[in-house]
């Protein structure tokens, strides 16, 4: 099925989608022309400015967003996300927003290039960090009671203290992870950092929960395989031009 890459009015979207489209010689279109196309693989970056609705209402798509590890730096300014460069990694997900659930390439080479050291299991963990999704994600996924439901679920499994963390928290993620027993999120990319820091991560989103099921929260396991899979599913804009990226895209078809 033909891939058509769509751009919005946002410069970050325009930059990232241009690299995708032009490195792969794909058709490149303004999102306002989406209705002209049928039976295509819809490709774009992010869920704002009209892309989210299309992604949710189409069966075949490639979703691009910030990578799991070593992604580009960004600042949050009210509801706007400002990208401070495009040199980091971007994830490419087929028919999902967060993870290529059935992707099998767990080769370590790309992960090793990231220079992320893997710490041993943190045996001094005291509390469970519950990472709340952003307001955008809550609305997008329609998970308005996520925090309450997940707290209740965790309480049914363990008596450990739960600390809720989100992007407005005063304590940084790095600090809070130091004494974390486990990291629970819907689909947060911070979970990948947690695993590298020696904190087992658990997910509620369908694309990721097989890699860390909340029911196993007391069965502490660092799923390094998830990191290797993630490293093979994220790419820099420069890498878009390479053969390895083409092979990756083909493997998702």
């Amino acid at each position: 099925m033909q891939k058509v890459v769509f751009y919005t009015q946002h410069p970050a979207n325009q930059t990232i989608t241009q690299f995708f489209a032009k490195s792969q010689n794909l058709m490149y279109e303004n999102i306002s022309n989406y209705e002209k196309y049928q039976n295509i693989n819809f490709v774009s970056y992010g869920i704002l400015r009209g892309t989210g609705e299309i992604f949710q209402n189409t069966e075949n798509f490639f979703y691009i967003d910030h990578g799991y590890l070593n992604s580009s730096k960004r600042k949050f300014n009210n509801n706007d996300i400002i990208i401070e460069g495009f040199t980091g990694y971007f994830r490419i997900v087929k028919n999902n927003f967060y993870f290529n659930k059935d992707f099998k390439n767990n080769d370590k080479k790309r992960f090793e290039k990231l220079n992320i050291s893997l710490k041993d299991l943190n045996n001094n963990g005291e509390y469970i960090v519950l990472s709340e999704p952003s307001r955008h994600i809550i609305n997008f996924l329609g998970i308005h009671d996520w925090t309450e439901n997940t707290v209740n679920k965790i309480k049914s499994l363990t008596d450990r203290k739960i600390i809720i963390h989100n992007k407005f928290s005063e304590v940084s993620l790095n600090d809070i992870l130091k004494k974390a027993y486990a990291f629970v999120s819907c689909q947060s990319t911070a979970a990948f950092k947690a695993i590298a820091e020696g904190i087992p991560a658990y997910f509620t989103h369908s694309s990721l929960k097989d890699f860390g099921n909340l029911n196993n929260i007391d069965n502490r396991y660092l799923n390094h395989d998830l990191l290797y899979l993630a490293a093979n599913s994220q790419w820099t804009l420069k890498e878009f031009f390479g053969d390895e990226f083409k092979e990756f895209l083909n493997s998702l078809e």
Partner: protein, 271 residues
Amino acid sequence: MKIAFVSTINLKLYNEYGKRFIFEFAEYASSEVKLFIIFEGEIPEELLNLSDNIIVMPLVNEKFASFFQKFGKLQEARGMRFNYFYENDKRMVKLDYDYKFNAVKFSYKPFSILQSLDYTPDDLDYLIWTDADLRCKKKFEANDLVEFMPENEYIMSYLGRKNAYSECGFLGFNLKNERFIRYIERVIEIYTSGEFFTLDEWHDSYIWDHVRMEFEKNYQYKFKNLATGDAFEKEHVYINTNLDNFFDHLKGPQRKIDGHSTEDDYSKMVI
């Protein structure tokens, strides 16, 4: 052989002459020759979809941001000269503009080159800087440009001029020579550290030359001067080389208005 071009433009100059260049590039460059445009300001939509081999992106570079934060608002770094004198025993100051001291205006070029290196394909052999006041005269492909490229031990090709700073509307970088990045990083260091204030002129052509001579002398780096023979003594050196077969460089305001260089440009010597 794989070649890409990089250039930078803002919206005002895009409308004056950059658009003409980019549209001509889309028409005349073969599809394997890419052009990366580092655009200041909102990118015109007509550029996004113009051609598969043209990628337009904003200037987002940490080193540029650091340089601009330090020096961007400093009038001295923007070419203003504070000339003090006495009149009726009173100390007066006269402000004059001199482009040779406008470090900020001409910094976009080196920082755009630096930025582009983070995004160009890994298998690229050469990266060409071009000013955006260029005209494309006929169709060209990568192999047509081989003679202008710095092969093997050469770091960069450039348009040197006798008794004048080089014409840096064209620079060709040898990406397969791993030492080229040290040259670019040194140029950038002169901007970010403020070292440019210690030089006799602060515009990029002077700085490219300054670092080139420093590297030739101290590290025996090799640079390829494309201006050989008579061309070296010509004021409009660009069109007096074989680059003239493919391009016209609209150096200065009048040529931009006219849309072409003049017959005199083929004979006028550097003064």
